[in-house]
Amino acid sequence: MNSPLPLHIPDGFLTVIISGVFWAVTIVMVGIAISKTNKSLGEKQVPLMGVMAAFIFAAQMLNFPVAGGTSGHFLGGALAAIVLGPWAAMLVMTAVIGVQALLFQDGGLLAMGANIFNMGILTAAIGFGLYRGVSGRTRKIRLAVAGCAAWLAVVASALITSLQLWLSGASQLQIVVPAMLGVHILIGLGEALITVAALTFIERTRPDLLNQESVTEKGGRGWIVAGVIVSIGAVLLSPFASTHPDGLERVAEDMGFLHLGQSAPYRLLPDYTIPFLGATPLSTIVAGVVGALVVLGLAFVLGQSLRKAGR
């Protein structure tokens, strides 16, 4: 079974340093998640998390025909965070990504820390944080925000994946960022639509699940802040990363990394060098415009469908 998305980084693409850093972050976050879910769910957590992980896995098999033989797919990170709460969602996604790597070689073992961070931790923070911020609002607003969160989660995963690849010297920033974003801006649309429809379904059939204290673990403001900051970061970073591809690299050069990088037996941060300057203003502008249009379109489409549904 192949994952619908080229977001699972295989081994060999990331440097040991990058892998290690993200493993460290992931281990800390998962450790917190374990103790938090243990507190809120108690002895129920093991079967719940396990079956929910299988659910995410199985839901990724769902597809719907879009046009011309391509189809939309479902990732589920944001949905998991909205219905299960952020910590539980992190555990669930960790298990999913672990099994995808171990059983299906979908994503590497060394790269697993980064993969869990990109597709589990980041999506949980965005999905839950944004949704939590509007928890008291009307149904329409909540659904619209859930959709945006799902879309952003996918786009942010794609963005951080490209950044990791670039930091590892496995690709050039000004090529990989627009390419990855371009694809995932569209994939994110499908994700948003399915997430909204699934939430609508759950609200209609088991509304209790979406308001259940024990499961959703209504965290404090922290999550809202985290979610909003991460989202804004993702939004701002993408044009920045694309328009100033030389920013980080110039810093690296100034600090002498470039030299170090070439002589050390294993380079710390390879390719922290000046890329060909003045590279690609057009492509990044295009990516930005497409992104903005897509957000607008999404809001419009959501508004329409919600009006219909609310009739």
Partner: protein, 251 residues
């Protein structure tokens, strides 16, 4: 009240197969398991045939071929139209397939949406769709359930709705996979009456030989991917040797 079976054999097997013709159907699952090994079968307008056989005989696999969900080697004709990739949508509007577990069949939040799915997807105008939904729910006597959430219905109710979801497509052949499994006797009785009164050609797989005796004049026995007997129910259910050989029991 079991169906009265005619005493002299009626010429079932000589029928033209105007509703369904299957010729030499072979199918292996991706893991290599050969589930169908040359199945041939004809159904005529008005036939009500039971498909029986032990677990793993290939009944469900055969049924999945009848509207092109699985694609095997061999020929299938529905209503005189050869089944090919190109006319799948048309075939699917002719063959109504109801799965064993109604939970697999009902995927929309409300009963109405589920029953409307088929007609909507066929591109029918809204009025027509509403008309068909009402009619289909009427014929399974579930009109009052239109706005209910499928999720909260009892098993027996779900079964009926599942049948309505394909009736709304006005199929000319109804294919039911183990419709009576998991029903309590009362719900099962209601189902029997429902099936008896529906004026549609049907092929029904089941492990419930008492149901077969009551409801179907014709019985087809499958085992190991082949049809091993096809004839009058009363004759087949009297053939103790045949039943024993294929993991069945005289009801």
């Amino acid at each position: 009240m079991p169906v009265v079976h005619p005493r002299e054999p009626i010429p079932i097997l000589d029928c033209e197969g105007d509703v369904l013709q299957v010729r030499g159907l072979h199918f292996s699952y991706p893991d290599g398991h050969a589930a169908l090994r040359g199945v041939s079968l004809k159904l005529c307008e008005g036939d009500k045939a039971a498909l029986v056989g032990p677990n793993g005989a290939g009944k469900s696999t055969l049924m999945l071929h009848l509207n092109g969900i699985l694609e095997g080697r061999g020929e299938i004709e529905v209503g005189g139209m050869r089944l090919t990739r190109g006319n799948l949508p048309a075939i699917r509007s002719l063959v109504g397939l109801v799965f064993q577990n109604p939970d697999d069949q009902l995927f929309s939040p409300t009963v109405f949406e589920d029953v409307a799915f088929g007609p909507l997807h066929m591109g029918l105008p809204e009025d027509e769709v509403r008309g068909r939904v009402d009619e289909a729910l009427e014929s399974v006597q579930m009109s009052a359930y239109k706005e209910r959430l499928s999720h909260h219905l009892s098993m027996g109710e779900k079964k009926r709705i599942a049948i309505a979801t394909v009736l709304s497509m006005r199929p000319s052949l109804l294919v039911l996979d183990e419709p009576s499994a998991g029903l309590d006797p009362r719900a099962r009785r209601t189902l029997i009456h429902l099936l008896r009164d529906l004026p549609i050609t049907m092929l029904v797989s089941t492990h419930d030989l008492t149901l077969v005796r009551e409801l179907f004049p014709r019985t087809i026995v499958m085992d190991e991917g082949r049809i091993v007997a096809d004839g009058l129910t009363m004759e087949i259910l009297d053939d103790v040797q045949l039943l024993e050989a294929h993991g069945l029991e005289k009801p």
